[in-house]
């Protein structure tokens, strides 16, 4: 039995267990979604604790047409890591889908290298005094078996059959309460 004793000492001395799991594995966390409207102060959806209990700024806009852009951040890094840059680099595998309340209209303002919509920027028309939910979905659509799955007409698929009918995987799906003020 004696030869096992050093083995036991070695294993007790092993590091790592007596600490919490380390951060910074090669993970891809998005904690924060920033909505910028007409270059104003961003409206923020944030869950730094990743506990399913986010803080969400209510969004208010005036009647009329607004330039809107969205950013995705990992707030666990210091300074926060901007995931939007990676989305732009891999634009042919990403698309942002916008679901707006009745009466509002959304027009996507940017495209990827294949001429397909990207959706990081666009125009929001707020026609009248109204309120509802604005849902922003970032869909990651990596190639499957070497074939692209981001194809034309996905926004229409999402509009008719829902987000769940799209290929790929949801990276972000957050909802802001939006209201229009005069």
């Amino acid at each position: 039995m004696r030869p096992w004793i050093p083995a036991l000492i070695v294993l007790v001395a092993c590091k790592g267990v007596t600490e919490p799991p380390p951060e910074g594995n090669d993970e891809e966390v998005i904690t924060t979604v920033e909505l910028t409207i007409d270059n104003g102060t961003p409206f923020v959806w944030e869950d730094l604790e990743l506990d399913g209990n986010p803080t969400v700024d209510p969004v208010t806009v005036s009647i009329g047409s607004h330039a809107v852009s969205v950013r995705f951040l990992n707030g666990l890094e210091d300074p926060p890591e901007d995931i939007t840059e990676e989305v732009e680099i891999e634009a042919t595998q990403h698309q942002v889908f916008w679901e707006v309340p009745a009466g509002f209209t959304w027009t996507t303002g940017d495209q990827d290298a294949n001429g397909l919509p990207l959706g990081l920027t666009g125009t929001l028309e707020a026609p009248d005094v109204a309120s509802g939910d604005l849902t922003v979905t970032l869909r990651h659509m990596p190639e499957e078996g070497g074939e692209p799955v981001k194809v034309a007409g996905l926004a229409e698929v999402a509009a008719t059959d829902g987000i769940d009918a799209l290929p790929g995987d949801t990276d972000v799906r957050v909802t802001f309460a939006i209201s229009v003020e005069e």
Binding site: M1, V17, E19, P21, N25, D26, D164, V174
Partner: protein, 785 residues
């Protein structure tokens, strides 16, 4: 009962003076005359004393009077054997020949003096499964169901229990892996096995914690003892997924007690195909390698070994579980949306899993005056990485789990105590100590922990002619320190699942200790008639398991399920109480076994939806959308069922085998159905074994029909979609052994899902998204030398 035990005591007292003079021993080795393999369970009698040969064929008869004596050997399947010996005698070699009159058929074999329902896959049945993984190999055993993961791997389910509630022993050692994940298949190499047994029902006393649903025993063949080198080579080709498998085993011995084994196998396959489309990204690769060294001399046996297992597999692109709505949409779509794009491909893309399992062990076995003492120390390192679909800048895994386990197991099989000429008492007493570290890296899911466990047990068997009674008890204790981040700590305190005072701040973490205890008992009996044609067994056993790290502290999106999962640090030990009668029949031309069981599980740990204060399902809002909140809670459950197998020899060379199983499971009190309980099933196999083929003796052809009902007992509250329809599958097989002078060749072909039917099984993680893999033709060739 009272009277009987008094008689036994009286006989013991009266016979003891005679023992004082008769203290010599006769020891030796029982083998099969034809194969040279050791024969276990042979009864060796010398005068009034007797012993039963061990799994290694070894026996030691003690308490024998010195001088000339007659030695008799009895075994069910072998012809009787007698010879004269001069007591004391060592190294008595006994070679038994098969009794031509005995009906020797495959499983179900009569109990290995175990009151549990037990089936062993070995010999020709194991040969036919070459190239399959553990779950597939065992899927023909009554009461065992195959649980398919979302890639190219399966897990066995016994009586509706799997993962945490199923214990796997490799060569007698607990296989310590991350059993908690639905997608985590056991890291066991079936090529290494000579026999794989399934013990059904709670078996906590004999095997320790986690033996709730049963135990799977994977037993490698004993090391070679005769001087020389031998081994086997196997090559398997599988049509579905274009899989190629090669395996070898090399055994050598110097004939003076030293034995060496080197073995390994490699399997590589591309994506599997359902009848109508390729299951994109289900390619896989498996590598196994092992070295075993053994040394035997003067009653001392030493063995050491190292095994490495590596498994790399894609997870089907079809798994689309970003949200419950998406899962339901996939279920309704029928065919996966991008199925037309998927090709048969050897590339293993993200999402994928990379798993390694290493086992290093040392065993010692020696006779110590009162019995055989066996000690085993083993270290296991289980490493699992999950790689999700991510943007190109991310290269590593998203989840990284390491489980380090060190186990010391000491047991004493005491000498048979003869209570007169009628009764014999045999038994084992032992203890186990274990230290286990869980190290996690990645997205917040489970914390690190260190667990120290210890257990002690005693089990005794009393043989009284045609009756055997077994009784035993065991206690186990576990202390576990869990190391939480401040965030996780405050979240649990905030939810009221953790008392802040129980944890201490170490400066880098919150250390939260916990203690769990378990007491298990077993009482069982076997009775058979004088002709050994009918056997009745009754097993009353309990088993316990301690809550797992994820059940206690899970905090995040649950893997493979579109829900937000929460652990509960206050969970208690789960205990099952089982009652199982088994009837075995062994008549000329008919052989069968049927078992019924009821398992009452107290503090059953269930994972189910959490209701909010208003009674509606609670929802957690994450950056990836809203998820239903699921939590681990404790309830009481009951599992009951029936399983059996009947084998009929229609003529001398046609046998038909009918197997069936049913499981019923519900929460006690509410009667709510539990998820993932296998549907009723039955299977009929007909085999034709033409006799007297000379060189080709043992050749056979077979056909099978498997019928599985729809699982109508399901609960919409815990299951995210309705169960699939029932189905019928056809199969066919042929085996051709070729006996040459020096080598033994084996050829075979097995066809599963012959008609390429589109089916989905309820116990498959793929069932929401895609059909099961279609027709599979497996061609195998092997050689023993």
């Amino acid at each position: 009962m009272q009277l009987q035990s008094r008689c036994a005591l009286a006989l013991l007292v009266f016979s003891s003076p005679a023992w004082a003079d008769c203290d010599a021993k006769v020891s030796g080795h029982v083998t099969d005359a034809a194969s040279g393999d050791p024969v276990a369970g042979a009864r060796v009698e010398v005068g009034a004393a007797s012993a039963v040969s061990t799994d290694d064929g070894l026996f030691v008869v003690r308490g024998v009077c010195p001088g000339p004596a007659e030695l008799h050997v009895h075994h069910l399947e072998y012809a009787g054997f007698s010879r004269a010996v001069e007591v004391p005698a060592d190294h008595v070699d006994i070679a038994l020949t098969v009794d031509e009159c005995a009906v020797v058929v495959e499983a179900p074999a009569f109990s290995d003096r175990d009151p549990h329902a037990r089936t062993t896959v070995e010999g020709e049945a194991l040969e036919r499964s070459r190239g399959q993984d553990l779950g597939e190999v065992l899927s023909t055993v009554p009461g065992v169901t195959l649980l398919r993961t979302s890639g190219d791997a399966t897990r066995p389910m016994v009586r509706g229990q799997y993962g945490r509630r199923l214990l796997i022993l490799f060569d007698g050692m607990r296989h310590e892996s991350q059993k908690w994940g639905a997608d985590h298949a056991p890291e066991v190499d079936p090529f290494s096995a000579d026999a794989i047994s399934v013990v059904r029902g709670a078996a906590g006393v004999r095997y320790g914690p986690d033996a709730i649903g049963g135990v799977i025993l994977v037993d490698p063949p004993p090391l070679r003892r005769d001087a020389g080198v031998g081994g086997r080579v196997d090559v398997v080709g599988v049509s579905n997924g274009g899989r190629g498998i090669g395996a070898f085993r090399l055994d050598g011995s110097d004939g003076h007690g030293l034995g060496v084994r080197i073995e390994g196998d490699l399997a590589k396959g591309s994506s599997l195909s359902a009848p109508d489309y390729v299951l994109g990204n289900t390619a896989s690769q498996t590598l196994n390698g092992a070295v075993t060294l053994g040394w035997t001399r003067d009653g001392l046996e030493l063995e050491a070994g190292f095994r490495h297992h590596a498994f790399d597999a894609g997870i089907c692109y079809c798994v689309r579980a970003s949200s419950p709505d998406e899962l339901r949409a996939a279920l309704e779509a029928g065919t996966p949306p991008n199925a037309a794009l998927w090709k048969t491909d050897r590339t293993i893309d993200r999402p994928r899993q990379e798993v390694t399992h290493d086992l290093l062990y040392a065993k010692a076995k020696a006779y110590v005056g009162i019995g055989t003492l066996e000690a085993t120390f083993n270290t296991q390192l289980n490493h699992r990485q999950e790689l999700e679909q991510v943007r190109d800048t991310v290269e590593g895994p998203q989840y990284d789990f390491t489980l380090r386990t060190h186990t010391l197991d000491v047991g004493l099989l005491h000498d048979s105590v003869h209570l007169g000429s009628l009764a014999t008492l045999e038994g084992t007493v032992g203890g186990v100590a274990q230290l286990q570290d869980n190290l996690f890296e990645g997205l917040p899911l489970v914390p690190n922990h260190r667990a120290a466990s210890a257990g002690a047990y005693v089990a005794e068997r009393l043989s009284l002619g045609h009756t055997l009674v077994e009784a035993g008890a065991r206690v186990d204790h576990q202390h576990r320190d869990t190391y939480l981040t401040d965030e996780a700590f405050f979240r649990h305190v905030g939810r009221g699942t953790l008392d802040a005072d129980t944890c201490t701040d170490t400066g880098v973490a919150r250390r939260c200790p916990g203690d769990w205890s378990a007491a298990t008992v077993t009482l069982g009996g076997i009775w058979h008639d004088a002709q050994e044609r009918v056997e009745l067994r009754l097993d009353l056993s309990s088993a316990s398991r301690f809550p797992n790290g994820d059940e206690l502290f899970l905090n995040g999106a649950a893997p493979t399920q579109p829900v937000y999962g929460l652990g509960d640090p206050g969970l208690r030990t789960e205990t099952t109480w089982g009652a199982a009668p088994t009837l075995g029949v062994h008549l000329p031309g008919v052989r069968g076994e049927i078992s019924a069981y009821g398992n009452w599980i107290d503090d059953y740990i269930a994972f189910g939806p959490v209701l909010g204060p208003d009674g509606t399902p609670a929802v957690d809002v994450t950056v990836r959308g809203s998820f239903p909140r699921y939590a681990f809670t404790q309830t009481n459950a009951v599992f009951a069922g029936l399983e059996g197998q009947v084998e009929v020899e229609a003529t001398r060379w046609v046998t038909a085998s009918l197997t069936g199983a049913m499981v019923r499971a519900a929460e006690r009190g509410t009667g709510a159905y539990l998820p993932l309980v296998p549907a009723d099933r039955a299977s009929l196999t007909v085999r034709v074994n033409p006799p007297h083929l000379g060189t080709f003796d043992g050749a056979s052809v077979g056909a099978s029909v498997d019928a599985v009902a729809r699982q109508d007992r399901w609960d919409a509250g815990t299951d995210l979609g309705p169960p699939p329809d029932g189905y019928v599958l056809l199969g066919a097989s042929a085996s051709l052994p070729v006996d040459l002078d020096t080598e033994h060749l084996r050829f075979g072909v097995e066809v599963a899902n012959l008609l390429n039917a589109r089916v989905r099984s309820y116990t498959s993680l793929l069932r929401y998204f895609a059909d099961d893999p279609g027709r599979e033709i497996r061609v195998r060739a092997g050689m023993d030398f």
